[in-house]
């Protein structure tokens, strides 16, 4: 039980690191660039 509790916090820390690295490398801007253009694939005509 204690082991799984620690796993949750370890994973949380790991993914916070992922997020920070992603933001620093400009991935948030890359997501924005994709999201502000109409995705023809999502619509079903691309």
């Amino acid at each position: 039980m204690e082991h799984t509790r620690k796993s949750g916090f370890f994973l949380l820390l790991l993914f916070v690191i992922f997020l920070v690295i992603g933001i620093n490398s400009g991935e948030a801007a890359a997501v924005w660039e994709k999201a502000v253009n109409i995705c023809l694939s999502c619509i079903g005509i691309g």
Binding site: R5, F15, L19, G22, A28, C39, S41, C42, I43
Partner: protein, 295 residues
Amino acid sequence: MMFVLRRWIQAAATAFSNAYLLFPFTRNIYQGRLKSVCVPGLNCYSCPAATGACPLGSLQTMLATVRPSVKAGNGHIGLYVLGILGIIGSLVGRMPCAWLCPFGLLQELIHKIPSRKIEIPHWMIYIKYAFLALFVIALPLLAVDGLGYGITWFCKYVCPAGTLEAGIPMLILQPQLRELVGWLYASKVGILLIFLALMIFIRRPFCRIVCPLGAIYSLFNKVSVFRMVHHPDTCVLCKECYNHCPMGVRFYEGANQPDCIRCLKCMQESCKFGAISYEIAGLPAVLKKKTTNPL
């Protein structure tokens, strides 16, 4: 009480995820800075009213452009999207499916239509992991063109949420797009109609059988900071939790199963014996009701 609160939160989350109300005038999607943030639920970013990015669509686009990105020296491998999904999953597991996902809300509302209800075989809940592995990860990453670009396979060939929230509205807003409609659009509308029909008879069919976003969150259910707790000492195996569960989870067989979306309906409305509670970071957040086992 909890049910009413959840409905309000679901409605508010749907409204916040789709708060760009100028689209009838601009006839286009929102293009502000909020679009760089992934919303927790399934909400197509090409929906005219969408204010955020769909995490599943974003993950696929990042994976589909990994090769050109690495070649260009950007190193965009999807850590930002994985970070957001992982933080949510580590904290609450699959809870966003119950409280924040607009497509989940739609399924619950349609399921209220009076009809004979059907239960799916248990093995079908594992199909969504195949969709995740194949359509969201493997194909966008590996099926690439000469320049190394892949496509968003799940969005393109499967996602009924995208068809409902973006496909149909955008064709209404931008008539010039109608000329491009072909077999792909027809097939996606067909998938949407099939799921809309299934929602009447089956509890949350898309979430349980197909949704790769739910599949990702479900991987965290056993280890998340927020977790459900089953008390076998007070459980009488009455199966009321299963009867009322929007996901058809047999809670009495164990807490934190992959399909448990932490809606808390079982705890608040079904169980009369205090056999269900939850804990946060290992600390019990709700005291067990003092009801004696009648058996």
